[in-house]
């Protein structure tokens, strides 16, 4: 299936909808802007803007306790903010679906993004997350569908990594 370069956030949104996601926590990120807009515009989804990403790990746990599926959108730097709270998901086996846009790995202009960007994969591995990396628009749907199944099928942590190659380098928009 061919996917226009700019359409992948819509494919992600459709996958979340098909997966029955009812709560979406996010710290705003330019790479997720379109997906956040879609979630905010959907009356069946509680869109929850967070002050820090670790709040979303707890939100998703509460959602599952109450029988709902949640997703957590963040930039790679936000993963670092989650590490201890991920113990909640790991200890209690809460399903956790994370969609992570990468910074600090490809044509990055801001060196302050690099340290966390460099350790996203090993951190996820150490936290027992299954990682689905996406480099091309045509891979988005398949990866996201597998991540949804992995997270909610077996109560696991699944992370879709949206690479900087896919998202594109950050452009100042003023």
């Amino acid at each position: 299936m061919s996917v226009r370069n700019s359409d992948w956030p819509d494919r992600l949104f459709e996958t979340l909808k098909r997966g029955g996601i009812r709560q979406v926590g996010y710290v705003p990120d330019a790479g997720h802007a379109r997906l956040i807009d879609r979630c905010r515009g959907d009356s069946e989804i509680h869109d929850v803007v967070l002050t820090t990403e670790e709040e979303g790990v707890a939100l998703a746990a509460g959602a599952w306790l109450g029988g709902e599926r949640a997703a957590l959108l963040m930039q790679s730097s936000g993963l670092g903010n989650c590490i201890n709270m991920l113990s909640l998901a790991r200890t209690c086996r809460f399903p956790l679906l994370m969609l992570i846009t990468m910074r600090g790995e490809w044509e990055e202009f801001n060196p302050w993004q690099v340290p966390m960007g460099l350790i996203v994969d090993p951190v996820l591995k150490l936290c027992e997350a299954e990682v689905y990396r996406v480099n091309k628009p045509g891979e988005v749907t398949g990866a996201a569908e597998r991540a949804v199944r992995h997270a909610f099928g077996g109560e696991h942590i699944a992370a879709v990594i949206l690479s900087q190659q896919l998202v594109g380098k950050k452009v100042w928009t003023k």
Binding site: A58, W64, G66, G67, E68, M85, L88
Partner: protein
């Protein structure tokens, strides 16, 4: 005269009804909730410090026809202070966040917390847009809080000033998977 934490918890949870879901925070409030009587509709926290209020928010959004009470300590609330801002943006009608404030970190040797230096959690909650913020300092105010919790109609925040003491620990189940599964089963969610 500050309130006794165990008696306060017992008052809040007396005759609680099947529609009350309780998330006690890491540490003393988890022991307090267990001491008030074990219940499958309690999701005790043995970790996740700073996460209690957000677990409550996710639960309240998922279960709009049930009441959700997060009952936690000042230290645990301070670690998740931003979650009050997040709750302020959502304001679910069925969520109460109740903080037992004794001004110390009781589990680690009674070191002073920020509230002892004047950080006022009620002002924080109010500034975050939570409409009903109660300052509970005596038995009458506690009875009022218990009534409001029993008939919850809007997001509620309460700070309960409790005495500094360390009653014997009453420990609930520690297995997080089991706590999660019994909670979900109790409210009729199929695995």
């Amino acid at each position: 005269m500050r309130l006794d934490r165990r008696a306060t918890m017992a008052t809040l949870l007396a005759g609680r009804g099947d529609d009350l879901l309780v998330v006690p925070g890491l540490g003393s409030t988890t022991w307090d909730a267990m001491a008030a009587g074990d219940n499958d509709r309690n999701f005790y926290l043995w970790g996740a410090m700073g996460g209690a209020a957000m677990i409550g928010l996710g639960l309240a959004l998922a279960q709009p026809n049930r009441r959700v009470a997060v009952i936690t300590g000042d230290g645990e609330m301070l670690m998740g202070l931003g979650s009050l801002a997040t709750i302020g943006t959502q304001r679910p009608r069925n969520l109460a966040v109740i903080v037992f404030d004794n001004g110390v970190y009781g589990e680690t040797g009674m070191q002073p917390s920020h509230t002892q230096s004047g950080v006022d959690l009620i002002s924080v909650a109010r500034a975050c847009g939570i409409g009903t913020c109660l300052d509970v300092r005596d038995a009458d105010a506690l009875a009022d809080l218990a009534r409001r919790l029993g008939n919850l109609r809007e997001t509620l925040f309460a700070r309960v000033l409790i005495a500094i003491d360390e009653p014997p620990r009453v420990l609930p189940l520690r297995d997080g998977v089991a706590l999660k599964e019994r909670f979900r089963a109790a409210i009729g969610i199929k695995s």
